[in-house]
Structures are given as structure tokens and as C-alpha cells.
């Protein structure tokens, strides 16, 4: 069972991660953060699953696609929904490449982000 109103933010940029957590917490969500794919996998394997993961594409050590590959191999976390967040214009292809239904472009439109999160939480 996923933890209600919980979100995992995976992004290597500390400021963006921090602001996003502030904003979402103000909106009433329980937010956890990870600086790359490895941290995210560690978190997911040791905590209750969040409602949704906001996943950056480009990160050091373990990037978005690598995280996604590992997630799909691990049946215990494979079903957790993922929303791709990227600064690149090729969001649509990236989204298809890693098999996630939604992609948000940086800079983020807050209204859109909240509306999308509401679908999962």
C-alpha cells in the first residue's frame, strides 16, 4: 500500500528539490527527496512506497533512465507511478523511451504540476 499524499522528488539540483518540496508541502503533501537514482532506489526499498515519483532525466551517477530500468526490474517498486521532469525539449520521446505516461517541462507550470499530482495522490 502506498503512503497517502506522499511524493518522492528525484533531482540532482538541491535548490529545485528544496523549492519543490516547500511548494508541495504547503499544498499538503508528504515529500521525500533523493539526489540521484541510486538514492531514490535506496529510499524506495527501505520506506513505504510514495503515491508518485517526480523523476529528473539528467543526473550524476544514476540518471533517470538507469533508475527507471532498475525500478522495473524490482517487482516491489515497479508499479509506483513516475512523472518525468526534464529541461530538454525532447520530453515526449524521453517519456516514451522509459515508459512513463506523463512528462513535465522545466520551467515547471505549478498549476499543471499540482493537477497531475492530484491524479495519483
Amino acid at each position: 500500500m502506498s503512503c497517502p499524499n506522499s511524493i518522492l522528488i528525484v533531482d540532482d539540483d538541491f535548490d529545485l528539490r528544496d523549492i519543490l518540496r516547500d511548494v508541495l508541502e504547503i499544498e499538503g503533501y508528504a515529500v521525500a527527496t533523493a539526489g540521484d537514482g541510486n538514492e531514490a532506489l535506496d529510499y524506495l526499498r527501505t520506506n513505504d512506497p510514495p503515491c508518485v515519483i517526480l523523476l529528473d532525466w539528467m543526473m550524476p551517477r544514476c540518471n533517470g533512465p538507469q533508475f527507471r530500468s532498475e525500478q522495473q526490474k524490482d517487482a516491489t517498486i515497479a508499479d509506483i507511478p513516475v512523472v518525468l521532469v526534464t529541461a530538454d525539449a525532447r520530453g515526449e520521446e524521453k517519456k516514451q523511451a522509459i515508459g512513463v505516461p506523463h512528462c513535465l517541462m522545466k520551467p515547471l507550470q505549478l498549476d499543471r504540476l499540482l493537477a497531475l499530482i492530484e491524479q495519483y495522490c
Binding site: E92, E93, K106, P107
Partner: protein, 781 residues
């Protein structure tokens, strides 16, 4: 029944004898003639009917009457039904009381109609003698026919063989008996078409065909030809009618062969004779027309017996034949040592040879004289014992060659001077130059600049290909250039080189070279020449490499910078949006909310600029990738128009777009979106608050977007460069942006294999049209 007379009916059978040529008479048992056929009438000179009813003794001499009565009585009393008597010779009495000896053969004949008659067949003795004579003649003819060495035959009017002798059978290769009753066509299937007209001609005209020569394939010797001499005669019957054709055939094959051999020999002899004649004529013609001076003299007095026209011309037109050299010189009024000179050659037997010897000779047709040069030989001739018996003079006029050689020597001197002058000029040039001989690829000249670059003198007249060059040459990829592809060899074989690049590896280091070369045609006495000019482009190469690296670093920086800029922008935008959501409902909060909204728009604008920068670096580094999918262009433009509606309203521009039809195609959705957005943003920006019309259509397998504004337009001289990077047609102070919008549009359209065109009139407006093929193909791109 009266036996003396027979009725006509009963005699009808005897009438059959009317048409027989032998004389017949018939008598009844009373010795009364009951029938006389016309032949008998003719023999006895009686009308046949006059004799019928007369007693038999009417046709017998009186001295035979008594014997007849006895004999006839015995004959009748004998009563034998058939008597086949021997022929008996008896005299017969004619109507004119003359007698004729006949041979009589008696027999009895039972008539089918009843009764018996005695039948007498008569033959005149004289006729018998004739028959015997004819029989003997016939036997003789048969012998002749059989033994004649020539072919004989009789062919009837149906063209069938009736008689053939052995000689003709042998010629035909068919047994004599196999001819009989056969037609010409049956006996000679291959030859009948030749023979039949001859036979028919004889039969139809009644005229003989004498001595006709016939030729056919030899029926006995396969592959050989047989020749015949044939005569055809009409054979006539008693009344002169043609009964057939007599043939006499003589085999003349051997004679023909002999004739042909003789003709062949004669022809060979004629040809040989003609060849000898022609050879003689040719030699004489050569002698007479030779451009050389030829003359032969005999004896110690040098009496001329042969001299060609050239010699006569040299001798001032004097006819030398039969004259001594001394007489000729006297006739010419020259008493000099010329004769003694010839005497010496004659006496010594040693030939005299002279080259380019000057002789004063008369000018043709004038009184004047001129000096001409001759190369000649005076050769002693010898008799059978080896003693000198004459002199042969043979000389050639070499004046033209002497003059030409002297002229060539003068020209060579002049050319040498020119060459020195030219080389001095070329040595002053800073551009390295080589002259190359086209036929051999030998370097015939290298100027000082070329020698300096080579670090020493380039040896002249040495082939300048790779084998003979001490320093190797490589192409831009570092591969050694093959001999045949060396620039020197290429220009030597007539190729034109323009901006050919290679590396020349010298002991002092490698030099990148830029070479140009061509062939100079022969001119002013100089032979054809290949020229190769080259330039050291080391510095140019260094600068080019530095520039390429600078561009690469810049593009990489822009890519990284673009990405790095976006992340803080994202955080900033998120922060502002979050603050907006925290504002309350007071008037002061409204003002804060409005100001935060303006801040957001600035962030968005900054973000768009960053996107453009990223695109520029991606396209410039060649990493633009298209993600093609099938979609409706009109629907996409509807979205873009809707998205820009607010911006257009703020700029006072009305966007007009009425999609008429769907236009599906295979394109990159986000990139086509980008092109449409850029075109519309430009039209809004420069639209001068007037409507902007957008049209989408499908035409000729292409999708087309047209954006037309009625704004400020673009100056004609700027229309070309608006598609270049960082270019704009208006002052950047009045209109913002990086100046990459149209460049991006063009690059994206080209990446789709399409075209973009711009038509603009300052003060009237601008129309931009972008065409994209509806089916995407990498080859098109």
C-alpha cells in the same frame, strides 16, 4: 444356202482386214472370191469390189489354172477344218495382165456367223526382198547402236526412253534397260529441267538441235561436273510425222577439264606477264620521276646511256644521252676540272660521297642561276670480271633541309634567350612554380621559390613523379599518393588541377600544399608545357583548425550553458508561482500577484531564449534529430494559434486562421510547432497591428504553411540574410530576440526535406511559406 455368195453380215468379220497393211483375199468352197482387202486390191491393181464374185483363177496366170483346180479340189476334199500351210511362191495376175511373184499363205477361217472361208495372205516377192534388206540394215544399226563409243538414244514424244545404248547408259550411271519406258524426269531428276525444253523444241519445231553443250553434276563421280556435247534429231514416221527424238551424246568432260587447265595456265601467264610489265613500268617511273638526280655513264669517256629528267635539269637542259661528259661540259661552256675528277673516280674504283655540296644550277624557266645543296654519290659500276665499266651518279637536293636547319638553329638561339628572360622573371615570383614536359612528366624548370621550398635544387629533366621525388607526398588522409596520381603526372597528362591539396614531406618537415596546374599550349616557338603552381598553406591550415575548434568549444559551451541556465530558471519560476498561490484577497495582495505574474512572464521569456540557444548549438553541431510521426498539420496550427492568441491581442494583432481541410503528413510535431510558432511570433512582432493570416494546405504531396502579415516588411537587400544566424532585418533596439528564429525555421524545414521562401515588400508586408514533403525520407534530406 448358196455357197458361192456370202451375205454381207457373214462377211462383216472379214471387214476387219480392211485396215491391215498386208494383202488378204478370201474365197468360198467353190473357189469364188468373197473378200479382197484394199492392200490386196492395191497389190493386184484391182478395185477390191470388182474382184468379189470372180473365181480365184481370175487372179492367176492361165498356166496355173489347171494346177489350181487340182490342188484346190484336193484341198476342199481333204476337209481339214484348219490348214496351216507353208508359204508357197506362186505368180499372181494383175488386172493389167502383168504378173507378180507373191508368197501365198493359205488358211481356213470359220466365221462366227457360220460357214468357212479360205483365207489367202499374200506378200509380194519384191517387198520381201526389201524387208530382208531392211532387216539386215536394222541388225547393222543395232550393232552400231550397241558398240558406238558415243551415247545414243531414242525418246518418244511423251519424253520416255525407247532405246538407249550402253555408252549413254554409262554416262547416265543407269543400266540401259532401266531407261526403257521411263521419262526423262524419272531417269534424271536433277537434269530433266535442262533437257526437257531441248526435246520439246525438237518435237514441236521438227528441227534438230546440233552440238549443244550441256553441263550437269556428274552422276558417276560425286561432286564433279560432267560436260556433254549433245545433238537431238527429230525421228519421223512414214508420213513425215515426228515420232520422237534421236539423241547423240558425247562426253566432253575431259576435254573441258583440259581446256580449263589450259585457260588457267594462259591466265597465269598473262598475269605474270602483266606483273612484270607493271614492275618495269614502276621502276622506269621511279627512275624518271624520282626527286633524286640519277644518271649512268659507260666507259672511261663517261658516255651517258641513261639520265633522268632531274639530271637533265641540273645539266641546264642538255640531253646527255650518247654524249661524253667532256662534250656536255663543252656544250655548257665549262672547261674545268670536272671531267678529271670523274676520271679519277673511274680509275680508282673508289666511290665519291659528298654531303650538302653547293652547286650552281640554272633556275627553271629563267636565265638566272642559284646555289643549291646536294648530297650525292658517284659510284663506279663493274663488269662481269669486276673491272670498272661506268659510273652511277645519284644525288639528292637537300637545299630545303639545309635552309630549314639553319633557320631552326637561329630560332633555337632566340628561344634560348627568351627562355632565360622568362626564367629570370619567374625566379623573382614568390609563388613556387614548376614547368613539366607533358610527354615525360620531367621537370624542365623550377623557380627559386620552388627550390627554396624544397630545401634545395629540384633537379631538372628528372621525372617529377613519386619514384623520383626524394620526399614523399600524402593526401589529406595521410595516404601516400600513387605515382600516377601525383599532381605533376596529372598535369603532364593534360588534367587541369584547381585547389588540389596534399602534404609534402620534406627533411625539414611536412608542408600542406595547395596546388593548381594546367597545360600551356605551344606558342611563340615554345613547345606545349604543363605548369604547376603551389602554395604552402601551413598557416591557413592552422587557422582553419583553430577556427573549427573555437566553433566546437562555443557550441559545446552553449549547449551546457543552456542546460545549466534552465535549472535555476525552473526553480525561480516555481518559487514565484508558489508565492502567487500564497497571496491573499486584499488589494495589496492583488498588486503583488500581478507583479509576480509579470516576473513569471520574464522567466518564461528567458526560458524561450535559452531553448533557442540550445537549438542553435544542436543544429550547428549537427545533432538535430527528428522524431517523425503522422499528424494533421492544420490541427497543430490551430493549437499554436490558440497558444499565441494572448500575445497577439497584446500586440494589437488579429490572427486569422480558418482551417479548410486536414493535411496529414510524417513530420516532427514539436519542430513543426516550433517553425509555426516562430513564423507567427515574427508576424505578430513586425505586423504593425494589422491582421496576420495563416493558411494551411496540402499540395503535390507537400504540406504547406503560409503566414502573411501586412506589417513593416523587409528591405530587399536584407531578405537574403534574414535566414542567417544572428541576423535581423531591423534594429535590435526596437525589436528584441536573438535573431535566430528564421534560421532555426530554415534548418528545421531543410531537415524535413522541405523549402522555406520569403516574399516581402517594405511597408506592404511579408509572406513566408514553408513546404514539407508529406512522406518523410532521409534520402530527401
Amino acid at each position: 444356202m448358196d455357197e458361192n455368195f456370202m451375205t454381207a453380215d457373214r462377211l462383216r468379220e472379214l471387214r476387219l482386214l480392211d485396215r491391215v497393211v498386208e494383202p488378204f483375199v478370201a474365197a468360198n468352197a467353190s473357189g469364188i472370191l468373197v473378200y479382197v482387202n484394199p492392200a490386196a486390191g492395191q497389190l493386184l491393181r484391182w478395185e477390191p469390189d470388182a474382184l468379189v464374185g470372180q473365181p480365184l483363177i481370175s487372179i492367176m496366170p492361165p498356166r496355173m489354172h489347171e494346177a489350181h483346180r487340182r490342188g484346190f479340189g484336193r484341198f476342199v476334199e481333204g476337209g481339214k477344218p484348219r490348214i496351216m500351210g507353208k508359204p508357197i511362191r506362186v505368180p499372181a495376175l494383175r488386172s493389167d495382165n502383168t504378173e507378180i511373184e507373191i508368197e501365198l499363205l493359205l488358211s481356213t477361217l470359220e466365221l462366227e456367223t457360220g460357214g468357212v472361208v479360205f483365207l489367202g495372205s499374200m506378200r509380194a516377192r519384191t517387198e520381201l526382198v526389201e524387208l530382208e534388206r531392211q532387216s539386215e540394215l536394222l541388225a547393222l544399226l543395232e550393232t552400231l547402236l550397241a558398240t558406238a563409243p558415243i551415247g545414243l538414244a531414242f525418246v518418244d514424244c511423251e519424253l520416255q526412253y525407247v532405246r538407249v545404248n550402253e555408252a549413254l547408259a554409262a554416262l547416265n550411271g543407269v543400266p540401259a534397260e532401266a531407261h526403257i519406258g521411263k521419262s526423262l524426269a524419272e531417269v534424271h531428276p536433277d537434269f530433266a529441267s535442262t533437257l526437257e525444253p531441248v526435246y520439246r523444241g525438237v518435237i514441236e519445231t521438227g528441227l534438230p538441235s546440233i552440238g549443244r553443250e550441256l553441263r550437269r553434276e556428274d552422276p558417276v563421280v560425286p561432286g564433279g561436273a560432267a560436260h556433254y556435247l549433245a545433238s537431238h534429231y527429230p525421228i519421223r514416221g512414214a508420213r513425215g510425222e515426228v515420232l520422237g527424238v534421236g539423241v547423240i551424246v558425247q562426253d566432253i568432260t575431259e576435254r573441258k577439264r583440259m581446256e580449263a587447265e589450259r585457260e588457267l595456265l594462259l591466265e597465269r601467264e598473262r598475269r605474270a606477264h602483266a606483273a612484270v610489265q607493271a614492275e618495269r613500268q614502276r621502276l622506269y617511273g621511279l627512275f624518271m620521276q624520282a626527286p633524286a638526280v640519277i644518271a649512268v655513264s659507260r666507259g672511261p669517256d663517261h658516255v651517258f646511256e641513261m639520265a633522268n629528267p632531274a639530271f637533265r635539269a641540273l645539266s641546264g637542259g642538255v640531253d646527255p644521252i650518247g654524249k661524253s661528259l667532256r662534250e656536255i661540259r663543252a656544250e655548257l661552256g665549262r672547261a674545268d676540272g670536272f671531267v678529271g675528277f670523274h676520271d679519277d673516280i673511274y680509275a680508282s674504283g673508289q666511290p665519291f660521297v659528298a654531303h650538302e655540296y653547293p652547286l650552281t644550277v640554272p633556275i627553271d624557266g629563267t636565265e638566272g642561276q642559284q646555289v643549291r645543296y646536294y648530297s650525292f654519290v658517284i659510284q663506279p659500276t663493274r663488269d662481269a670480271e669486276g673491272h670498272v665499266d661506268g659510273l652511277l651518279r645519284h644525288g639528292v637536293d637537300v637545299t630545303e633541309q639545309v635552309v630549314a636547319r639553319r633557320r631552326a638553329e637561329e630560332l633555337a638561339t632566340q628561344l634560348g634567350n627568351q627562355q632565360q628572360w622568362l626564367e629570370a622573371v619567374l625566379n623573382l615570383l614568390p609563388v613556387p612554380l614548376l614547368f613539366i614536359e607533358p610527354a615525360t612528366a620531367n621537370v624542365t624548370f623550377a623557380n627559386v621559390a620552388a627550390q627554396e621550398m624544397a630545401g634545395g635544387e629540384i633537379p631538372r629533366f628528372v621525372a617529377a613523379n613519386a619514384e623520383h621525388t626524394v620526399h614523399a607526398c600524402t593526401d589529406d588522409e595521410g595516404q601516400r599518393i600513387a605515382d600516377a596520381e601525383m599532381p605533376t603526372v596529372r598535369v603532364a597528362r593534360g588534367e587541369t588541377l584547381r585547389d588540389f591539396t596534399m602534404n609534402w614531406h620534406l627533411p625539414q618537415g611536412s608542408k600542406p600544399l595547395l596546388l593548381s596546374g594546367d597545360t600551356l599550349p605551344s606558342m611563340h616557338g615554345h613547345a606545349e608545357l604543363a605548369v604547376l603552381a603551389f602554395q604552402d598553406i601551413s598557416r591557413l591550415k592552422t587557422i582553419q583548425a583553430e577556427l573549427t575548434e573555437a566553433v566546437r568549444v562555443r557550441d559545446e559551451f552553449m549547449s551546457v550553458a543552456g542546460h545549466e541556465l534552465r535549472t535555476p530558471l525552473a526553480a525561480l519560476a516555481l518559487q514565484i508561482q508558489s508565492l502567487q498561490r500564497l497571496t491573499g484577497q486584499s488589494e495589496r495582495d492583488d498588486r503583488i500577484h500581478a507583479r509576480l505574474g509579470k516576473a513569471i512572464r520574464q522567466v518564461e521569456r528567458l526560458s524561450e531564449l535559452v531553448t533557442e540557444l540550445l537549438d542553435v548549438s544542436r543544429i550547428a553541431s549537427g545533432t538535430l534529430e527528428l522524431h517523425v510521426e503522422r499528424f494533421d498539420l492544420a490541427a497543430l496550427v490551430v493549437e499554436v494559434v490558440a497558444r499565441l492568441e494572448d500575445s497577439a491581442t497584446q500586440a494589437g494583432v488579429r490572427l486569422v486562421f480558418n482551417p479548410v481541410t486536414e493535411v496529414f503528413g510524417e513530420w516532427d510535431r514539436s519542430r513543426i510547432d516550433q517553425v509555426t510558432t516562430n513564423l507567427l511570433i515574427n508576424a505578430i512582432k513586425y505586423g504593425d497591428k494589422k491582421p496576420v493570416v495563416v493558411v494551411v494546405e496540402g499540395k503535390n504531396d507537400h504540406g504547406r504553411i503560409t503566414v502573411r502579415d501586412e506589417g513593416i516588411g523587409i528591405a530587399h537587400d536584407a531578405q537574403e540574410r534574414v535566414f542567417e544566424r544572428f541576423e535581423r532585418a531591423v534594429s535590435e533596439r526596437h525589436y528584441g530576440g536573438l535573431g535566430v528564429g528564421l534560421w532555426l525555421c530554415r534548418e528545421i524545414v531543410h531537415a524535413h526535406g522541405g523549402r522555406i521562401a520569403l516574399h516581402s515588400e517594405p511597408g506592404v508586408g511579408t509572406t513566408v511559406t514553408a513546404d514539407f514533403p508529406q512522406r518523410f525520407s532521409k534520402e530527401q534530406v
